[in-house]
């Protein structure tokens, strides 16, 4: 028993090395994010809202919408903020926010300070909705069509270029169909 204890570090290391070897297998790419959710029904959610009004998937069906996962602790989200403001104010895109793993008061402070591009904000305080969506890190933006299917996923801060070249044309196309 006493001797077995001294084997523990070696055993732990070998397990770790096994994980490393798995991660080195061909085809594994930590940057590539799975698109398993694309063209599938978005996971159901019914969240408490930031300003009283809640946010549920059912209420968003009927027309294409954007769902943006953000958090007050997330620096890249602030990079994205001007782009979101433009989407909301100039392009009049229906943009809904989900506050991911965050305190409501912090989120409220953030939106009061930098402007609120969202029509409504749902509170995903424990991150379970993010988990269902497969959020890798905030910010992430999902495009949902009128039936509530996920049509596109943007990882990381939205750039003006992505908006012009991909997002807006896609929304146009979704509106027509």
């Amino acid at each position: 028993m006493h001797r077995a204890l001294f084997l523990l570090p070696l055993a732990l290391f070998l397990v770790l090395a096994g994980y490393f070897a798995l991660a080195l297998r061909p085809g594994y790419d930590p940057q590539a994010l799975p698109s398993a959710m694309i063209d599938k029904e978005a996971p159901q959610f019914d969240l408490a809202g930031l300003n009283g009004q809640g946010l549920a998937l059912e209420s968003l069906k009927g027309s294409p919408v954007l769902i943006n996962f953000f958090a007050s602790w997330c620096v890249p989200c602030r990079v994205e903020q001007p782009v979101l403001m433009r989407l909301a104010n100039r392009e009049h895109v229906p943009l809904y926010g989900i506050d991911y793993k965050d305190q409501p008061e912090d989120a409220a402070k953030l939106l009061a300070q930098f402007g609120d591009p969202y029509r409504r904000v749902g509170l995903d305080t424990d991150g379970s909705v993010g988990l269902n969506f497969g959020v890798y890190g905030v910010p992430e933006t999902y495009v949902l069509d009128a039936t509530g299917r996920i049509r596109k996923r943007f990882v990381g801060p939205l750039t003006a270029e992505e908006v012009d070249k991909e997002l807006l044309p896609l929304l146009e196309a979704l509106k027509k169909s």
Binding site: H2, R3, F6, L7, P9, L10, F13, L14, L16, A17, Y19, F20, A21, L22, A23, L24, P26, Y28, P30, Q31, L33, P34, W73, C74, V75, R78, P82, K101, Q113, F114, L131, G134, V135, Y136, G137, V138
Partner: protein, 662 residues
């Protein structure tokens, strides 16, 4: 020609390191003194050869030899000289050369200054160093050779990543690597001790200065990296829990535990197998860090260009080095019986607590860093844990360590008097409570951990001063007497006090970041932004050419109550070659707070995004960290490391025999 010379030198270094890893080891096993002595000369020769390789690669960079692939990929004629030099280690291949160069420096220093080591121990330590060198030289020559040529030569190079063209980052890697690689010495000593089956106070006395020196270098390296990300990334953050940052932080945490536990081995002849394990783990974490950064298994903002073949090679290296040393540990360590017993409340007890918690902290960081990898391997979703995970787990874990830092040095060895020690730090206690109350009052219920942080910092800082005052018997004997005691206090004691005080200073800096005030605004010429009692007037933006970039240079006047405090110039630099923009922030500090101004994007109409922060006490983070490293160096200058105390102690120490059956 010179490049080929460097290439040959590297191949020759590999041959020499093979000799270094085999001959002295055999010599030590057979008691052949001549074979043992090969270790010293081989280590010196290896250093000379690797230095030659490093110099010839640097020569290729400075002379813009664009027939060398590595130079084409990472350099450019327009690049200032400083970055032509630092470009050598600003890429994967070159940084590996820096790695083996630092290993050569350590081995050569070990060879030169180990004259008073018993010849067999010296031979074994140098042989282990030789094995590490062999592994990495093979890695460079087989997968990451910087000396490869191409024909015809390119007209010009592709330049260095603009983000890396910064004086802070030019010197960050050498310090960091010196720290990583320096831990190899402790590792080599640990492996040699396991082979010999003997660990004693004298052993600890040799290991400690090496570990301490590497720890200092790593502290400086991490501090520089953090400072660099603070002023160049433009978002005011100084630590991002990025995998690459964590890769340097984990050896630091365990290395900190190691420098403490080796004190116990030295003074009390106990905690031996634990200290050996820490020495192995510290260097192993440096190696694992190398693997994580260069194999591409994790996503990171500052990872090197990656290649699975390299990852496979490093993984094999890990298996041999870590797997081998831990196997040796499993076989030999049970035979290492400790000497002195101690009560839970004693200085040893405090150090054990420190060790346990630092190790747990390291495990937390490790888990957080590798979580995406673990999850993926079992087919889970792609997830990464961010800031919230580390802030909620790591920060509270460190609280007891900081409490122990205040009280530990005041406990006596073997059996301490906690009540007595607590009574002696009454001033620290009052200061802690006061600081918590003041901070609470000022912020009306600010973040609890930050408020607690101030209290802990006050506790630690004052306890350090009280401990010093106790030692010199301040106010209890005449002032002259106290002065004499203060002068004669060993430097190691001052080193400890400085390092612990530095920790307190850093904690103040960490905690204060909860009280940052920020203002992110769209501005145009003449706009005024209010920030923490200051007024920032945005004057204009000028286009200014630099050596290899064009800058948008803003002028911002800072006034307070109508009085001009200063004019700052945040910049956005556009590097046409790489089509990349970097941000050059303007920081105005008075050492109590920073005004941090960064220029964001502009539009046609002359509107610019201006990001400004008022960051109270943030410079204390780095001041404290540098004080810690300085404390380590002061301790290192203590004369007992230099005189032959260790050799004498070794001669007198009883030799520990491995248990029967080994």
């Amino acid at each position: 020609m010179i490049t080929e010379l460097g290439h040959f030198a590297l191949i020759l270094a590999l041959c020499v390191s093979l000799v270094q890893s085999v001959v002295p080891l055999l010599g030590a096993a057979r008691g052949n003194l001549a074979w043992m002595a090969v270790g010293r000369n081989a280590a010196l020769a290896q250093f000379a050869l690797v230095a030659l390789a490093m110099a010839s690669l640097m020569h290729a960079y400075i002379t813009n030899d664009f027939s060398v692939i590595n130079v084409i990929e990472n350099s450019h004629t327009d690049k200032p000289l400083l970055y032509q030099i630092s470009g050598v280690w600003g890429n994967h291949e070159g940084s590996m050369i820096l790695w083996v160069f630092m290993l050569g420096v350590c081995s050569a220093a070990l060879a030169l200054f180990s004259g008073n080591l018993p010849p067999d121990l010296r031979a074994r330590v140098l042989a282990v160093q030789g094995m590490i060198g062999t592994g990495f030289l093979l890695f460079i020559l087989l997968t990451s050779n910087p000396f490869l040529r191409t024909w015809p030569p390119a007209a010009n190079g592709q330049g260095l990543n603009p983000v890396l063209q910064d004086p802070g980052l030019a010197f960050h890697p050498p310090f960091l690597y010196l720290g990583y690689v320096g831990f190899s010495v402790g590792f080599a000593f640990a492996v040699a001790a396991l082979i010999e089956g003997r660990v004693d106070a004298a052993w600890a006395r040799w290991v400690r200065p090496w570990t301490l020196a590497s720890w200092c270098a790593l502290t400086v390296g991490i501090t520089m990296g953090s400072w660099w990300s603070y002023y160049t990334l433009g978002w005011g953050g100084w630590w991002f829990w990025d995998p690459v940052e964590n890769a340097s932080f984990m050896p630091w945490l365990v290395g900190t535990a190691l420098i403490h536990s080796s004190i116990v081995v030295e003074k009390r002849d106990t905690l031996k197998s634990w200290t050996i394990l820490l020495a192995i783990i510290t260097f192993s974490l440096s190696l694992v860090g190398t693997f994580l950064v260069r194999s591409g298994v994790l996503t990171s903002v500052h990872a090197f260009a990656t290649d699975p073949a390299r990852g496979m090679f490093i993984l094999l290296l890990l298996l041999v080095a870590i797997g081998g040393s831990l196997t040796l540990y499993a076989i030999r360590a049970p035979a290492l019986k400790g000497g002195g017993l101690f009560a839970p409340i004693s200085r040893e007890g405090a150090i054990v607590l420190n060790n346990l918690i630092l190790s747990c902290g390291c495990a937390t960081v490790f888990l957080g860093t590798l979580y995406p990898l673990f999850l993926d391997a079992v087919g889970g979703p792609k997830l990464s844990v961010g800031f919230p995970f580390f802030n909620r787990t790591f920060a509270p874990l460190m609280v007891p360590v900081i409490v122990a830092v205040g009280i530990g040095p005041m406990l006596s060895w073997k059996r301490g008097d906690l009540l007595g020690a607590l009574q002696r730090v009454w001033a620290a206690y009052i200061a802690a409570v006061l600081a918590v109350l003041v901070a609470w009052y000022c912020t009306h219920g600010g973040p609890i951990l930050a408020v607690l942080g101030f209290g802990l910092a006050a506790w630690t800082g004052v306890a350090v001063i009280v401990e010093w005052a106790e030692r010199v018997k301040l106010f209890r004997v005449g002032i002259g007497d106290s002065l004499r005691r203060a002068i004669h206090l060993p430097r190691a004691a001052y080193g400890m006090s400085l390092a612990h005080f530095g920790l307190a200073v850093s904690i103040v800096g960490f905690s204060a970041s909860a009280f940052d005030i920020e203002a992110i605004n769209t501005v145009h010429a003449g706009s005024v932004v209010q920030l923490a009692g200051y007024e920032l007037r945005f004057v204009d933006v000028q286009r200014t050419p630099g050596p290899n970039f064009v800058a948008n240079r803003a002028t911002v006047e800072i006034t307070r109550d109508g009085r001009l405090v200063g004019v700052v110039h945040p910049e956005q630099r556009f590097f046409a070659l790489q089509q990349q923009t970097t941000s050059e922030t303007a920081i105005r500090t008075n050492f109590l707070a920073d005004l941090y101004v960064a220029l964001g994007d502009g539009d046609q109409a002359g509107n610019w995004t201006l990001r400004a922060w008022w960051k109270p006490l943030v410079p204390w983070i780095w001041i404290g960290a540098i004080t810690m490293a300085f404390g380590g160096m002061v301790s290192l200058s203590d004369r007992r490391w230099r005189v032959g105390v260790a050799a004498r102690a070794r001669r007198m120490a009883p030799v520990l025999q491995p248990a029967a059956g080994d």
